[in-house]
């Protein structure tokens, strides 16, 4: 028997010792709680939320949940700022929790973005002035009782009693905590677990709409089945990468890819199979591309975005994209930079198809939520052009674009919640005709968001697009930039068509009404407008911030 085989067996057999009480000492793991505090605070708030659901009387839950969520998210943001101020974003960035979580510039930047998105999303989740008062109770966008059959006796009872699903707040917080770990994950196991931690609450949130419940449940089933399928593919990719490198840590795999790893003889014989690396890497990237809704994996997006409750759609569209692009960047820039000649052509193709398909299919849409869904697909394509640059400016431009895109998206979906008729939200575009005559302020705000999506100068969308296209062009991807500009022009056509429709068409006689929101939704929309204009007119400060945050730890 060779020496290596003996070493293998010694893992699970031990020599019988005379002194059986002596257990071999295991080096105690070390957890840097302070550096993980933002995530831990959000998790803690979520657990507290579950306790509120369990023990607080029903009447007190809404206020309690709202307070816990807002305070928890604000505290997490403060902790993130403190970490960044301590220099963890640049000089002191390192890998915490035994190599599981990276604390570096991109991680802190994206976590901060996600927490702010979640804070705004909490406001839209908590909005209770839009639906008419039902049986003396103010209600939000979520089902009275998620488990009751739509239209059944139990549901009517729950509606009469004024029930609301306040569980949405802890679910949101769990999803946020998962999303915060996702772009910071520094080994593949953490990547997979955090993916599930943020996906599972989202599947549930999708099913909880108050109106059009069948559609909402259908969206949830579709999202769940396809999401589970894609995460299984991602997991098999992880298994193959583990087989390739003998480790799941990002740095370890990157070392094996580069050929600089110091391997024990036992590992040297079994690692380095390139077939495993290529197939495994492709499958992991596939799983991530599903989450960002890039084109061959985008089929779920329109249906899920349309069926889910609109506040959830806004949150999902913004935060999932931020988290998943963060993870994609880290994977491609930290684990697989040694393979960029293999993945860049593939990403070229994916980016081109995503931009073109997203823009062209959006032109034919008649539902405003589906329209925004296809626009989010097109934006995934623009973001991918920044990823392809493989340069520091590629990282920082993607970070900047994510901020610009996510707040505009949140604001856009918040506007959609306000335009209502008897059946709830009036999402069909024909009903939006003439909205500018009836409610000029709302139409103007929505026009600002659409112009930003289109990338018209002086909006955040333009600064973001300019940054990613510049990075891509510097990285040698000029044809990609040309395709990007052309599909931006196609996309601009349908955004402007909606604006023309709102301002220059006669309102329908039985058109929708615009609900007067509480300060919660107004804040979300106002923030969206503010971010659009500030990042559009004076982007330099934020570009510098993203530039400073653009270095990964390894």
């Amino acid at each position: 028997m060779s020496a290596t085989a003996a070493a293998v067996h010694s893992l699970w057999t031990t020599r019988a010792l005379a002194d059986t009480a002596a257990t071999p000492a295991i080096p105690t793991p070390h957890i840097e709680y302070a550096q993980l505090s933002p995530v831990l605070i959000v998790f803690g708030a979520a657990v507290l939320g579950v306790l509120i659901e369990a023990f607080a009387p029903r009447a007190a839950r809404y206020a309690g949940q709202l307070a816990v969520s807002v305070v928890g998210l604000a505290a997490a943001f403060a902790a993130l700022v403190a970490l960044a101020a301590d220099g963890y974003a640049q000089g002191r960035s390192h890998v915490a929790a035994m190599g599981a979580v990276a604390v570096d510039g991109p991680a802190l930047f994206l976590q901060g973005t996600i927490v702010l998105i979640a804070l705004v999303a909490t406001f839209t989740f908590a909005e209770r002035r839009l639906d008419p008062v039902a049986h003396g109770n103010r209600v939000d966008s979520f089902a009275a009782q998620g488990s009751a059959v739509p239209g059944g006796e139990q549901e009517q009872k729950a509606v009469r009693a004024g029930f609301t699903t306040t569980e949405v707040f802890p679910l949101l917080l769990f999803a946020v905590a998962g999303m915060m770990i996702f772009p910071a994950a520094d080994d593949l196991l953490t990547l997979f677990v955090s993916l599930e931690v943020f996906s599972l609450p989202l599947y549930l949130l999708c099913a909880l709409a108050r109106r059009r419940r069948l559609m909402s449940q259908e969206a949830s089933v579709k999202y769940f089945l396809l999401g589970a399928f894609s995460s299984a593919i991602l997991l098999f990719g992880i298994a193959l990468l583990y087989g390739y490198a003998g480790t799941v840590s990002y740095g370890g795999i990157a070392d094996v890819v580069d050929g600089t790893a110091k391997l024990t003889p036992a590992l040297a014989n079994t690692t380095g199979n390139d077939a495993l690396l290529l197939i495994g890497g492709a499958m992991v990237v596939m799983g991530l591309l599903f989450k960002v809704a890039a084109v061959p994996f985008h089929m779920w997006t329109p249906d899920v975005y349309q069926g889910a409750p609109t506040p959830v759609t806004g949150f999902m569209a913004a935060a999932v994209k931020v988290a998943a692009f963060g993870a994609l960047l880290r994977l491609l820039y930290v684990v697989l930079p040694g393979m960029r000649w293999d993945w860049r052509p593939v990403m070229w193709g994916v980016a081109i198809v995503t931009m073109v398909v997203g823009a062209i299919i959006a032109v034919t849409q008649t539902d405003v939520k589906r329209l925004l869904a296809y626009s989010s697909i097109a934006h995934a394509g623009f973001l991918l052009t920044g990823v392809i640059a493989v340069s520091p400016s590629g990282v920082s431009s993607v970070l900047f674009y994510l901020v610009a895109y996510s707040f505009v998206t949140l604001g856009g979906f918040a506007v959609v919640t306000l335009v209502r008729d008897a059946g709830g939200e009036a999402t069909h575009l024909s009903k939006w005709a003439g909205l500018g005559r009836r409610s000029p302020l709302l139409a103007a705000v929505f026009a600002v968001f659409l112009l930003s999506f289109a990338g018209i100068p002086l909006t955040a969308g333009f600064s973001g697009k300019f940054a990613v296209f510049k990075a891509a062009a510097q990285g040698g991807a000029v044809p990609l930039v040309v395709v990007g500009v052309i599909s931006s022009a196609i996309a601009a056509f349908f955004y402007i068509r909606v604006i023309v429709m709102m301002f220059f068409q006669e309102p329908q006689p039985q058109g929708p009404t615009v609900a007067i929101p509480s300060p919660l939704t107004s804040t979300a929309i106002a923030l969206g407008v503010a971010v659009t204009l500030v990042l559009g007119v004076a982007p330099q400060y934020f570009l510098d911030l993203a530039g400073k945050a653009g270095v990964f730890v390894r």
Binding site: T23, P24, A25, I26, T28, P29, I31, V47, V50, L51, E53, A54, F55
Partner: protein
């Protein structure tokens, strides 16, 4: 590029064969359907989605079974810790207490919201 040519040719041949088979089968094959032929194969039993007894769905059992599975599986993490308990010392104990506490929060939620009641 030349290195990829055989793959492209193979892909083309494969796609051509697939299209040819499907088209020819639909043009030339006889079509005699019966109920058994259209049924999905389900290991010899009647395929779901219509369960026996008029489409009723045993919802109570489903809930109990699900709760059992999720709490049962959580315990898997206790085993490695139990084996190395004394080697990990206080750190392991505290971490495990945090873990068990979190599981208990979920349990408290299930209990308070009536998930454990059979009727």
């Amino acid at each position: 590029m030349n290195a990829y040519a055989p793959i492209l040719v193979l892909g083309g041949l494969g796609a051509g064969f697939a299209i040819f088979s499907v088209v020819m089968a639909s043009l030339t094959g006889p079509k005699r359907y019966n109920r058994a032929k259209l049924d999905a194969y389900e290991c010899g039993i009647e395929p779901t989605p219509q369960p026996a007894g008029g489409g009723r769905f045993p919802i109570k059992y489903y809930l109990t079974a699900m709760l059992f599975i999720v709490f049962d599986i959580e315990i898997v993490f206790l085993y490695p810790w139990a084996v190395t308990f004394d080697a990990l010392g206080l750190f392991g104990l505290v971490e495990m207490l945090l873990f068990v506490l979190t599981v208990f929060v979920a349990y408290a939620y299930v209990w308070r919201r009536g998930g454990l009641e059979w009727d």
